[in-house]
């Protein structure tokens, strides 16, 4: 497998390391919060190893610490993690066909590793970046949870460091470039559609007054990106609007209504 690591340039490895570092601080906070809430050491540690999904872990421990039933904690965590299902279909190709690889790799699917994979179009680099980010995050997250749990109180306050802004910032930094239609990696991201050429630019009107300034009319991915951008905007608006009304996790899933706006592949892509 180590030949995979060499397919990653230093910039990508540096990006992965930074995300690992940011997540490690959050993991340490998770361990500390669980311990200062009175849970035994093994709870945050076993949970981090087996569940390995930060949002769901915080949600489940939060429910328990506020006096909720364990069943409610499980339900809250599962609703939050339901988004991993479409992620698995979208990036499952990086795990190839071998069972061993799939069984191990599936556990490493996280928001961050998916975002890293989506950033890249080349199959070899997609695979490499998935394993590098997945394993890196698994190691740093679990080590940090143990350290945080042992340190106990004191590092509970990640808000003062602004770390709650780091997670959405990481997601935007990884995903936004594929929406602007100017990056080279983007051709690969739109996948088969990009290759199949564009007949779609006529259908891509609507209210795209702003797209004129990009000036790259030759970019075959453009039509698809317009639709993808609108899908993302609608999805984000729906998710934020639904947040006060629905339990955690469901609003993000409702964002999938935005997919309807990009339901058409940019071109007749059945050829690929």
């Amino acid at each position: 497998m180590y030949s995979l690591w060499r397919t990653l340039d230093r910039g990508t490895l540096r990006d992965i390391a930074l995300v690992c570092l940011a997540d490690a601080v959050v993991g340490a906070a998770f361990g500390a919060i669980a311990m200062s809430g009175g849970l035994p050491l093994w709870v945050p540690v076993v949970m981090s190893l087996l569940v390995f999904a930060g949002g769901a872990q915080f949600a489940a421990v939060g429910v328990v610490l506020s006096g909720g039933a364990p069943a409610a904690a499980v339900a809250a965590g599962l609703v939050l993690n339901a988004r991993l299902l479409p992620f698995g279909f979208a990036i499952g190709d990086v795990l190839g066909g071998r069972w061993r690889t799939r069984l191990a790799g599936a556990h490493l699917t996280t928001d961050e590793s998916v975002a890293f994979v989506l950033r890249d179009g080349d199959p070899r680099r997609r695979r490499a970046v998935f394993w590098a980010s997945g394993l890196g995050l698994f190691l740093s997250w679990n080590v940090a949870v143990v350290l945080g749990a042992m340190a106990g109180r004191g590092i509970g306050d990640t808000a003062a460091l602004g770390l709650d802004a780091a997670f959405p910032a990481v997601l935007l930094a990884l995903v936004l470039p594929s929406l602007t239609g100017t990056s080279t990696e983007n051709a690969g991201h739109s996948g088969h559609a990009g290759k199949a050429g564009d007949t779609g630019k006529a259908g891509d009107t609507g209210k795209v007054g702003d797209s004129g300034k990009t000036g790259d009319f030759t970019n075959t991915g453009n039509a698809g990106n317009g639709a993808l951008r609108r899908a993302c905007v609608l999805g984000a608006v729906v998710a934020v609007a639904a947040t006060p009304l629905l339990p955690a996790g469901l609003p993000v899933l409702l964002a999938l209504t935005g997919v309807a706006l990009a339901a058409r592949p940019p071109a007749d892509a059945e050829v690929s």
Binding site: A22, L118, P177, L228
Partner: protein
């Protein structure tokens, strides 16, 4: 938190994760559906960024966090290097909180 609850959460989460990589080889997914799934993943990640930037629990997260995330968005569109984006986002939020912005 009983061990059985952790195991149930872990098993369900793993099932969500494994279904895609396994089933996408069994079923032959049409190109159109594969396109949709790739769109869905991007839409979910952006929605996740939006909700985690703007909301905390079921309410507004306050101004400091979205301000930091906005800095990240602007830096991303200006093609700033990744570490700078993440560090400046967190720093903006931290400094605003230090100044008393919620």
């Amino acid at each position: 938190m009983p061990l059985v609850a952790i195991l149930a959460l872990a098993a369900g989460t793993y099932a969500f994760r494994l279904a895609g990589p396994v089933l996408r080889h069994r079923l032959h997914l049409p190109t159109r559906l594969r396109h949709l799934l790739s769109v869905a993943a991007t839409v979910l990640l952006i929605a996740l960024a939006a909700t985690s930037a703007l909301t905390e629990g079921q309410g507004f997260a306050g101004w400091a966090r979205p301000a930091g995330v906005l800095v990240a968005a602007i830096l991303t569109l200006r093609k700033a290097p990744f570490p700078l984006i993440v560090v400046l986002a967190a720093a903006t939020t931290a400094v605003l909180r230090l100044l008393g912005v919620p």
